[in-house]
Amino acid sequence: MAEIKYTFSELLVTGKTNPIKLIALEGILDESNADDFAPKVYEVIEQMPEQTSVILDLEKLSYMNSKSIGYIADYFNKVTAKGGKIVIAKPARNVKETLCVVGLDQMIPFTQTLEEAKLQA
């Protein structure tokens, strides 16, 4: 059975004036849990102040289906509408391939490290 563990936290970055929210995922996002997980992220986005950026740390995410990617595209729209940015950090190779094949790399920057993500957020 697919399981997704998530951590939402605030990041303090020297030299950055805008708040940054870190969303770290571990496990699998598929058809069986994508719809249950998405509202939790929507709630975070809704409550965060304007100009807040979001870093999605996908290092420990081992699988992601197209519906989950659709949700990320929707998070992007909601975060940018509030003046923030979204950055995807450390995606596993297969997850990165899937994100790229659907064209998400045309919307959202990917970084190899969390440090790079903080600079772009």
Binding site: I28, D30, E31, S66, K67, G70, R93, G103, D105
Partner: protein
């Protein structure tokens, strides 16, 4: 007593380089819960039975997942089932067929599915909604042929083909920087 250690492996996997076609059929209830097992099976089957790189095994895992999710969500009533068929033809191709049995309410034809795929592929990536990326991108880009047929019982058979002599299998270990996926 002296410690004894050993490893016993099961029988060798059947490689798709024998002279016989290999066909595997699976039926699952139309519940997303069962898809993790199908994904695991697909990954191991491709790793063990073909000479595809690990990257292609993961790609096939996504392709099968998307085909089945689509059949369950758009082509099936609750408490129904879908049929998955893996067909390997030595030195030629792998085919995967996913059959659903249709929806009583708001049924969709094969032609309408193909039109949706085409429309999604023509839409700017930033304007796509939540759904539609599975068949339009993951399945279409990672396979050589995608066919969708209506069946007599109101369902569909979606069949993909991946040619085994595809030269890209040899180039997949290159960089995976965004925009550099080799298809």
């Amino acid at each position: 007593m002296k410690e004894i250690q050993g490893v016993i492996k099961g029988s060798n996997p059947v490689k798709i380089n024998s002279d016989k076609d290999i066909e595997i059929k699976i039926e699952i209830p139309t519940k997303a819960y069962f898809m993790s097992g199908i994904r695991d099976f697909t990954l191991q089957m491709i790793k063990n039975m073909t000479d595809f790189s690990e990257n292609w095994a993961y790609r096939f895992q996504s392709v099968v997942d998307e085909l089945c999710n689509n059949a369950i969500e758009h082509g099936s009533d609750p408490d129904s089932f879908i049929k998955i068929k893996f067909i390997a033809v030595p030195d030629k191709h792998i085919k995967i067929q996913v059959e659903d049995f249709g929806k009583k309410e708001n049924p969709i034809t094969a032609q309408e599915i193909l039109e949706k795929i085409n429309k999604t592929q023509q839409t700017d990536i930033k304007d796509l909604g939540l759904r539609g990326r599975g068949l339009a991108f993951i399945v279409s880009k990672w396979t050589d042929k995608l066919e969708i047929k209506d069946t007599q019982n109101g369902g569909h058979i979606v069949e993909i083909t991946k040619n085994l002599n595809d030269q890209t299998f040899k180039t997949l270990e290159r960089s995976l920087e965004p925009n550099q996926i080799i298809i």
